[in-house]
Symmetry: C7
Subunit: 72 residues, 7 copies
């Protein structure tokens, strides 16, 4: 397994920060992902716009092609 996937896998069940292209950020618990799209499942995810919480999602499927970075 290549390094980026290994790090992603090691982050399962941990809190991660996910930054999207449209400036939105999620802070949630990584519950799953797929390969090679890097679609993510986040649990208890706060949606942040300009560092302000706007919504809370119990579960959210984030499409990988909108992601800039994932920070475990």
């Amino acid at each position: 397994m290549e390094k980026p996937l290994k790090i992603l896998h090691a982050s399962l069940n941990n809190r991660v920060i996910v930054e999207l292209r449209n400036g939105i950020e999620y802070q949630g618990t990584l519950d799953g992902y797929d390969v090679p799209h890097m679609n993510l499942i986040l649990k208890n995810a706060d949606e942040m716009i300009n560092t302000e919480k706007t919504t809370k999602h119990t579960t959210v499927i984030v499409r990988g092609d909108n992601i800039i970075y994932i920070s475990p």
Copy 2:
């Protein structure tokens, strides 16, 4: 089946929120999807722009490549 698809599958016949790249949001009942495009069928879907309902669709096919997230 990988986790994101499993969550999507488990959401069939439930209300979901779908956020698109152009800022439009749909709230509707997930009636179907395809793989790997993640095109969705929503039933009784409200189209929201800036949290205001603009249109109601009995049925709508949403192309997957416009989707940012799906929140069951």
Copy 3:
């Protein structure tokens, strides 16, 4: 056949609304489509910009990769 295609297929010869990424909307009779691009043929299609009719097309081939949603 997966659900989104089944719905599209069932919409043949019916009026559909097609919303494109550039804000243009078509209202026309679905005369055909292809897979997997989802290019569409619409007949007697009104082209709408901000809910105003601008042009009428007897026949129009709409490329699938510009489509946000199709509402039967």
Copy 4:
């Protein structure tokens, strides 16, 4: 042959309107196309910006991935 290609093929040697993503429109005689890119050859094509003719091309190769619609 699927419907969109059949319509495109039937438009050979006829005048078509081609709308591009950047707002430019061509009105010309369809002289050829390729599959699956939908690159087009137009003859005696008027280039229109905001419904005004700007240039005339004896022959022009239009790349398919810029096309929004083709209206025969």
Copy 5:
């Protein structure tokens, strides 16, 4: 060979106009191309912005995915 490539091939060693997505236009001698990317080699190419010459390139490799049209 499909029509668009045939026209491109017939334009070798002739002057062509190449319009790019960012509004830049090149006028140069077509010295080569590749398939399927449609990357081009232009010789003695004038780079035009708003119909004004800005730079002259002895040789330039233009990536195909930026091209809107090629006019022989």
Copy 6:
């Protein structure tokens, strides 16, 4: 191994500058990458906007398709 990957590989465990399409820059230690996506793992990465440090990430997975350049 082709030259760009060779240089990337030789940069493992060294500080690199990574410029993204949205104007954000990372300065961090290259801890891994994958092929062909060029997703990167950076350690102790400073996130810079207009040459100002905004955040520090202990670990960050940067998706390759947002990258403009990597400077070892």
Copy 7:
């Protein structure tokens, strides 16, 4: 080998100008490239914004999908 790659190959160890989609230009010595992505390695590369030098990179990996043209 097709013409664009032949020209790129012949430019190895020579100074080239590389124009990117975001308006940034690099002037550097072409040290390598890969196929089919056209990722480039430049050595002693000046980064220019509006014809002004902003940074100098000893080595830089430029992702091919941001490139508009390469001028040897």
